[in-house]
């Protein structure tokens, strides 16, 4: 991670119709594109919105609905920031991490609340929304600190929350502390047109294939990865299939007196 200026667009992101138009709302978080070690500033946390807004019922519009349900409005889901006390061991881990990060602050590192933009506790799982420029240092601290000992990385993967969601692309990292039997999720929200994230391979070698898969499926460029190549799709494939803007494909199936459209064109009730 070196660039303090906008890097050229990664190859393939725009190919094959894979990269959808990024929502106009991305403009609001354009400041987050600054990505360099010299800038230690709190980024816009509203990027942790994770879900699209809904209206009406059954996804049907213009049907002449007179029931009134068509007027329903449901805002997009945003995971709520957790409040102290988080409960269980969650407070302890947050405190220890803050302490460990403060200890090596002499090296010019950012304190905990700049590294971790938001903490969410949901359904018994703890998620830290992490600023990508501090990811590697945070992960190393989580792995090495004797009171944290997240020595095992379960996996790295991506989630595309779909068009219109600010910072729609998320990188999700699941860590496991075998010493303390704790699980922690790190999440990094990215803009689709600036899908770059530092690689964790130097901290967790197991992230190698996971990051290749995330690049392959979502087009996230992991900077510092030893050889970021496609892993599931053929080397010369265009586009990144797990993006919401990438079509599922399929053909209609014909029966007597009936034709069933492909799955992505069937009526969806969501």
């Amino acid at each position: 991670m070196s660039g303090d200026e906008q890097k050229p667009k990664p190859p393939g992101t725009g190919a094959g119709g894979a990269s959808g138009p990024t929502g106009a709302s991305n403009a609001s978080s354009a400041g987050a594109a600054a990505f360099g070690p010299q800038e230690i500033a709190r980024r816009d946390v509203s990027g942790s919105t994770a879900g699209r807004a809904r209206e009406g019922m059954f996804g049907i519009q213009g049907s002449g609905d007179t029931s009134g349900f068509g007027g329903l409005r449901l805002p997009g889901y945003a995971p709520a920031p957790a409040e102290r006390p988080y409960g269980g061991w969650f407070d302890e881990v947050a405190d220890e991490a803050a302490e460990a990060l403060a200890d090596d602050n002499g090296a010019g590192g950012a304190p905990f609340d700049l590294c971790v933009q938001q903490i969410t506790v949901d359904r018994g799982e703890m998620t830290w929304y992490v600023d990508r420029e501090h990811l590697v240092r945070l992960a190393r601290t989580l792995r090495d600190d004797p009171a944290l000992r997240f020595e095992f990385c379960s996996g790295v993967s991506g989630v595309d929350y779909g068009e219109g969601v600010p910072q729609q692309l998320h990188v999700v990292i699941h860590l496991l502390s075998m010493t303390y039997r704790r699980r922690l999720r790190l999440e990094i929200a990215l803009d689709l047109d600036d899908a770059r994230c530092p690689s964790l391979v130097e901290v967790y070698p197991t992230a190698d294939w996971h990051e290749r898969e995330t690049w392959d499926m979502f087009g996230v460029v992991f900077e510092g990865h030893p050889s970021l190549t496609r892993i599931l799709m053929p080397d010369d494939w265009n586009g990144h299939p797990q993006l919401k803007s990438y079509p599922l494909g399929g053909i209609p199936v014909e029966y007597h007196d009936a034709e069933i459209p492909p799955p992505d064109q069937r009526r969806a009730y969501t």
Binding site: A50, G51, R52, R54, F58, L74, G76, Y77, P79, D122, R123, G124, E125, T127, E151, F152, C153, S154, G155, S157, V159, D160, Y161, G162, V172, H174, M178, R181, R183, R185, Y204, P205, T206, D208, W209, H210, E213, R230, I231, L232, M233, P234, P241, Q242, L248, P263, D264, R266, A268, Y269, T270
Partner: protein, 452 residues
């Protein structure tokens, strides 16, 4: 290899210069063509002076455990560099799940790791249930445990069988598949299908176990108790088997942790890490069983652990039978429970006539619920969940994300085959080509799960 009696009958002028052209000869059965790769001696001549030979193994080589491709760099017969190429069985299951309801997703994920379908289903359903905030009834949880342990035995038997086949122990292969057939017959009796069951659904299991299940399961346990020691007789003391496996595919504990390796490979390095005990789910904390470990960290230790784990699974199966109390096998919530009441009719399996009569003729509520659940599916509150379980190959985690709709926003499986395969170069480099096979077999990768 060319032999003396082959006469080249090709009239193609380019044939003489093409070392890979097929030769043919006339026999009483007609013309027989011999298609080969290059001659080894010729290849060595061509590469004379170049110490390094790169060979490609797979993706259709019988001892690469499915469509896995290995690119090996050799110095003599020693592997100096091994690279794995995967993706040949990528089927886009994760993407497909985003276009189906939460219940339909089960039939997709069950096809990922096709040797352990019930584990995929359980991980998916546990994750969905955490998102929904529901707990399955006691009987459903016990049935899941019961089925998973039968499945674990079937999966480990395939690991032994294919591992034996790849090393030339063909009786190990025939015995392993014979025993596995017992497990599959039992699963077919219990769930209706040998594989890809789709029996475990969000909220419980699709239906109760059939009549007479207890006798069938007990006789299965008895048969396995009798036959499992046969592997010790056949293989454990076998000198060839030991020499092929001992000290091969060594991966110590720090290597396992760095590379994210779990399951029998991690336990063969000495760490008793089994999610059934360290992070119990579905009431595993109530079962009395051992987690076998070893410290040799080699292929032989992994073989032994798999045999021992099967015996432990038999113990769990018996205890699960004792814990099965009559009760519901699906949550009571009519907004979630799949409304089907299946029975065997004259035209095969379908909804029972009584159930159809009830929903069509007597209960408006049932009809509405049936219609809504089948066409629309149930809504899952937004959020994300990651539930790991102990599959035969290690940590199988289902990371599901919901945006509040009737379809998942994202389904991701952390499949142990995918992660464990990363360790293959660390196990194979510096060894012989033949040891690559033994090391890979001890990983027991399933490419369906790896590529998804």
């Amino acid at each position: 290899m060319s032999s003396g009696n082959v006469t080249d009958t090709h009239t193609d002028p380019y044939a003489a210069s093409d070392p890979y052209a097929a030769t043919s000869r006339e026999t009483t059965e007609g013309t027989v063509y011999t298609v080969t790769g290059g001659d080894w001696d010729e290849m060595v001549d061509q590469t004379a002076g170049d110490e390094r030979i790169v060979i490609n193994m797979g993706p259709q080589h019988p001892s690469t455990h499915g469509v896995l491709r290995l690119v090996l760099e050799l110095s003599g017969e020693t592997v100096t560099d091994a690279r794995l190429v995967i993706g040949y069985l990528h089927t886009g299951i994760e993407k497909n799940c985003e276009y189906r309801t939460w219940t339909q997703g089960v039939t997709f994920v069950t096809r990922m790791d096709y040797l352990a379908p019930l584990f995929n289903e359980t991980a998916y359903c546990l994750s969905t249930e955490r998102l929904l905030g529901i707990e399955v009834p006691e009987r459903a949880a016990t049935i899941r445990v019961l089925l998973m342990e039968i499945n674990r035995i079937a999966s480990h038997l395939v690991a032994l069988a294919t591992g034996g086949m790849e090393l030339g122990a063909l009786t190990g292969m025939t015995n392993g598949f014979r025993e596995r057939e017992e497990a599959l017959h039992l699963l077919e009796f219990l769930t209706g299908l040998r594989m890809n069951h789709a029996f475990i659904r969000p909220g419980g299991v699709v239906q109760d176990l059939p009549e007479g299940y207890e006798d069938r399961i007990r006789s299965f346990v008895a048969v396995m108790r009798e036959r499992l020691p046969g592997f010790h007789k056949l293989l454990t003391g076998n000198r060839i088997w030991r020499q092929r496996l001992e000290g091969v595919g060594y991966l110590p504990l720090d290597g396992c942790l760095a590379l994210g390796v779990t399951g029998p490979i991690l336990r063969s390095a000495g760490l008793a890490w089994d999610l059934r005990q360290v992070d119990p789910y579905l009431g595993y904390e109530h079962y009395d069983f051992e987690v076998p470990t070893d410290t040799a960290a080699d292929s032989f230790a992994r073989y032994l652990l798999r045999v021992e784990e099967m015996s432990e699974s038999l113990k769990i199966i018996e205890q699960a039978l004792g814990r099965l109390e009559p009760g519901p096998v699906m949550v009571e919530d009519a907004k979630i429970a799949w409304p089907a009441r299946l029975s065997i009719g004259a035209d095969g399996m379908g909804n029972s006539l009584e159930h159809v009569r009830r929903i069509m003729g007597q209960s408006m509520e049932s009809l509405i619920h049936h219609f809504k659940l089948v066409t629309e599916g149930f809504k899952v509150p937004p959020g994300q969940a990651y539930v790991p379980i102990e599959s035969p190959r290690g940590e199988l985690g289902a990371h599901l994300v919901s945006d509040g709709g009737t379809r998942p926003l994202r389904v991701h499986f952390r499949d142990p085959s995918f992660v464990n395969l990363q360790a293959a170069p660390a196990m194979a480099e510096g060894g012989m080509v033949s040891d690559v096979i033994a090391a890979l077999a001890s990983l027991d990768p399933v490419m369906g799960g790896c590529d998804r």
